[in-house]
Symmetry: C2
Subunit: 214 residues, 2 copies
C-alpha cells in the first residue's frame, strides 16, 4: 500500500504529515504574512488536525522559523557555487555577464522575493531571521565574489584595492534595479527575462568599466 500525498513516498506517516504542514504553511506565510496566517488555516489546508500541527511544532513561532530558515537554505546554494568557478575564467567579460544574468534570475524569483518581503516585514518580531537571511543570501554571495575578485586582481584581471567593496558593488549594480522595483511594486511587475538580462548586462558592463585594469 504505497500512498502518495505530495509525491513523497517511502516516508513514515508522521514525516509525510510534517512535510505537508511545512509545504502548506510555507505557501500561506509567504503569501499572507505571519500574523495574517492562522494555525487553523494551516491545519485545514494541510488536511491535518490542529493537534498534529502542535505535535510537530511547539508553537506558531517555531513553525515560522523552521520555514524561513529552510527556504533560505534552499535558495542560497546555487549562486555561491557559480561564483566559485569564476577565477578560472579565460574570458572575464563573458563570464561576468553570464554570472550577472544567473544572479539576477535567481534573486528575482517570486519565491525569493516573497521571502525577502516576509523577512523584512517581520524584522521587528524576528530580528535573528533577518540576520540569517542576509548572511546566507546576499552576504554569502558577496563573500564568494570577494574571494573570486581578489584572485582575479592578483593576476591583473581586475584593478581594485578592496575586494569586499568591489564585490558589494558588483552584486548591487547587477541586482538592485529589478530587486528594489519588485520589492515595492509586487511580483506582478516582474520584468520579463529579456529585461532582466539587460539589467544584468548593464550592471556587469558598468562594473568592468570601473574595475578593469587601464
Amino acid at each position: 500500500m504505497t500512498e502518495t500525498t505530495t509525491a513523497s513516498d517511502g516516508q513514515t506517516r508522521t514525516a509525510r504529515k510534517r512535510q505537508a504542514i511545512l509545504d502548506v504553511a510555507s505557501t500561506l506565510f509567504l503569501r499572507d504574512g505571519y500574523l495574517a496566517t492562522s494555525m487553523d488555516q494551516i491545519a485545514a489546508a494541510a488536511a491535518v488536525s490542529k493537534q498534529t500541527v502542535y505535535k510537530q511544532f511547539t508553537d506558531k513561532q517555531s513553525l515560522f522559523r523552521e520555514i524561513v530558515t529552510g527556504t533560505v537554505e534552499l535558495v542560497s546554494d546555487p549562486v555561491a557555487r557559480q561564483v566559485a568557478s569564476l577565477p578560472d575564467s579565460s574570458d572575464l567579460e563573458a563570464d561576468l555577464q553570464k554570472l550577472a544574468r544567473a544572479l539576477v534570475s535567481q534573486v528575482s524569483q517570486p519565491r525569493v522575493m516573497q521571502l525577502r518581503r516576509l523577512v523584512i516585514g517581520e524584522a521587528g518580531r524576528f530580528p535573528e531571521l533577518g540576520r540569517l537571511f542576509y548572511q546566507r543570501g546576499p552576504g554569502r554571495t558577496i563573500d564568494a565574489l570577494a574571494a573570486a575578485f581578489e584572485s582575479l586582481a592578483a593576476r591583473n584581471q581586475l584593478r581594485l584595492d578592496d575586494p569586499q567593496l568591489a564585490a558589494e558593488h558588483f552584486n548591487w549594480l547587477v541586482t538592485s534595479i529589478p530587486l528594489n522595483r519588485m520589492m515595492l511594486c509586487g511580483d506582478t511587475e516582474r520584468p520579463d527575462p529579456a529585461a532582466l538580462d539587460r539589467y544584468a548586462d548593464a550592471g556587469a558592463q558598468a562594473f568592468l568599466a570601473s574595475y578593469r585594469p587601464n
Copy 2:
C-alpha cells in the same frame, strides 16, 4: 504658523487631536507594523477617545494610508532638490561626492528605514502604497538624477548612452550597501556616520570611474 507636528498651538481642538492621533499612530505603525497595532492602543497613546479616532479617519486602513502617504511626502523632497542643482557643478567629482553623502544620510534615517520595512511588509495588503513609495522615493531621485546626468553628458562632463540607467546605477551604487544591510539586520546595526560617508564616497568613485569621459 498653520503647520506644527506635536506642538499644540494655534489650531482648533479638532485639528490638534487629529495631529496627535497621526503622530502617535505613526510611531506605533512604524514600530510594530499594521496588524500588530490596535486602534485602542492608538487612542490611548494619543490620549483621545476611540470615537474621536473614528470621527477623523473612517477606519484603520484609511488612517494607515494617510500616515504612509504623509511620511513619504515628508522624506521625499530634500534629496530631489539637491539633485536639481547638480548640473551647475564646476567640480563634478566633489559635488557628486557631496550628493552621495547626502543621499545615503537621508535614506538611512531610522524613520525612513522603518517606513520602507513597513511598506514592503504590507505590500500584499496595500499594493498601491508600495508603488507610491517607489515613485516618490527612489523613483523620484532617479528621475532627477537622470535629468541632471543628461545635461552633464551634453556638456561632456559624463559619458553615457542611457541617462536613466546611469541614474539607477548611481543611486544604488551609493545607497545599496547600507540600505540592504539595515533592511534585514535592523536599525541597531546602522553604520556610524563616518562609515556611511565611506560607502557614499566609494559609490560615487565607482560611478565616476565608469561614467567619466576617457
